[in-house]
């Protein structure tokens, strides 16, 4: 999967319609940079939808999406997504990890088990292995959800506003974890509507508005010298949607 020539994410003529309305329309998008790409935009712009289309949760009405040069349904793909609201199973914290984990054999080996425990300790859930996942706090749930996505060490990680309802401490911790993962070589697409968060994380940024891509730039020119008027206004906080 380390085919250097192929773009990491390539989208062509993508369209998503629902009830006759075009909700998202991307003529061409290519993401090639390593590091963290942040997608910003006001609520309802289509950020989450774009992410869901890239993951395959929603299917496009038209167009195609290729990751590392392969269609998203290809078995060799290793991308993973952190959902905005975590979906946890009626199992313990540890089982929530182990059940989704792509193990080699039917039974989990000792080293695989250690890997799960290590990653849970890293997100601060090391002491709650046998706690029922549904009884965790909001922040803990999101950390568990993130840990679940990180365990498979994906080549692309899609993150959908994980911190929108979470306290600042946990937000910092989650941002730290995502930066660490990025350093390990995982390409990260991070959706947020929080400009400060975008600034803290991004190596490059994409602006979406009304289902269209308005701007795609590296972080310095995006924040200091935006090309479109919309981005200028949004960054200045002038835009009310």
């Amino acid at each position: 999967m380390t085919n250097k020539k192929e773009p990491k994410i390539e989208i062509k003529d993508l369209k998503f319609c629902h009830n006759g309305k075009v909700l998202l329309c991307v003529d061409y998008l290519r993401i090639d940079s390593p590091g963290i790409t942040v997608i910003v935009g006001p609520n309802g712009a289509g950020k989450s939808l774009l992410l869901k289309l890239i993951q395959g949760i929603e299917l496009p009405s038209a167009g195609q999406i290729r990751l590392n040069g392969l269609p998203i349904s290809d078995k060799r793909q290793s991308q993973s997504m952190v959902l905005q609201t975590p979906i946890l199973m009626r199992l313990s914290v540890y089982q929530n990890m182990s059940m989704c984990f792509e193990r080699k054999n039917f039974f989990i080996s000792a080293s695989e088990k250690q890997k799960i425990i290590d990653i849970l300790s890293r997100v601060g859930l090391g002491k709650k292995l046998s706690a029922p996942a549904k009884l965790l706090s909001g922040g803990e749930k999101q950390k568990l959800s993130l840990a679940r996505s990180l365990i498979s060490n994906p080549s692309i990680l899609l993150v959908d506003e994980p911190t929108s309802t979470i306290d600042p401490n946990t937000t910092m911790l989650i941002e730290g974890l995502i930066k660490d993962q990025s350093k390990k070589g995982t390409k990260i697409i991070f959706v947020t509507h929080d400009i400060n968060q975008a600034f803290r994380l991004a190596s490059d940024a994409i602006m979406i508005y009304q289902g269209k891509i308005v701007e795609q730039e590296n972080v310095i020119s995006f924040f200091e010298n935006p090309k479109s008027d919309f981005t200028k206004n949004y960054l200045a906080g002038k835009l009310l949607v």
Partner: protein, 235 residues
């Protein structure tokens, strides 16, 4: 009033005195019902999960048939199994008629649609809840199967007990295929029917009370299980 007193003291006497005949009947009832229940769960739960997850051609038809069979009158099941197992029937060579095995087969047919149908409903619910999760983590189908089984374990236990309730209280089918033979196929329900027809209403009612107590115990288990499940967020 006299009848009630008589019945209650008789029931009490049967339970406390550990009446060997009553014990034999209760024991056989439990054996037959639990065996048929375990057998049907073995097949019905995987079928329910498959029907709940996969949308294959003919799936809706199977679900429709199972839902219809849920309301199957026990007498019809009893009659069909009788014709099947009768010595002049297609499976007569097995010599199962008027044995506990015949009753297990009849109960199996009665419980199977209930278990698979309820499991299917539960798994459909879970599937719509976890659909996005499975795609977001690219969880394999085989692993999803395991997740459905584990995640719904408490719901499955409730379904299991619903099947048990149907099995233990059923009379129409087992009396036809079992024949209510003393020491061989006499169960609680068939004994109740027999004593009623002998006009021995207080003994019939006393046995009914024992049956009721078993049902009560089972329901108490379900109830406490529900409390436990709620407390740990597993509901």
């Amino acid at each position: 009033m006299q009848f009630i007193n008589e019945t209650l003291s008789l029931a009490w006497g049967l339970i406390l005195g550990f009446d060997s005949k009553v014990f034999e009947i209760v024991w056989l009832s439990l054996k037959v019902s639990l065996t048929s229940l375990i057998l049907s769960c073995l097949f019905a739960i995987p079928l329910g999960i498959i029907l709940g997850v996969y949308k294959f051609v003919g799936r809706n038809f199977v679900v429709l048939i199972l839902n219809t069979l849920m309301g199957l009158p026990p007498v019809v099941v009893g009659l069909s199994v009788y014709l099947l197992l009768s010595r002049s029937g297609p499976m007569g060579w097995m010599n199962f008629l008027y044995t506990p095995y015949a009753m297990i087969i009849a109960q199996f047919i009665l419980i199977f649609p209930i278990i698979s149908s309820l499991t299917c409903q539960k798994v459909e619910e879970l599937n719509s809840e976890y659909k996005d999760l499975f795609v977001s983590l690219r969880v394999k189908k085989t692993q999803q199967f395991l997740i459905f089984f584990l995640d719904s374990r408490f719901a499955l236990l409730t379904i299991f007990l619903a099947g048990f309730g149907r099995a233990i209280s059923e009379v129409g089918a087992v009396i036809i295929v079992g024949g209510n033979i003393d020491h061989v196929t006499r169960m609680m329900t068939t004994a109740i029917a027999m004593h009623t027809s002998q006009g021995d209403l207080s003994l019939a009612m006393a046995l009914g009370i024992i049956l009721l107590l078993i049902a009560l115990t089972v329901n108490l288990l379900v109830f406490s299980l529900r409390l436990f499940v709620k407390r740990y967020g597993y509901d």
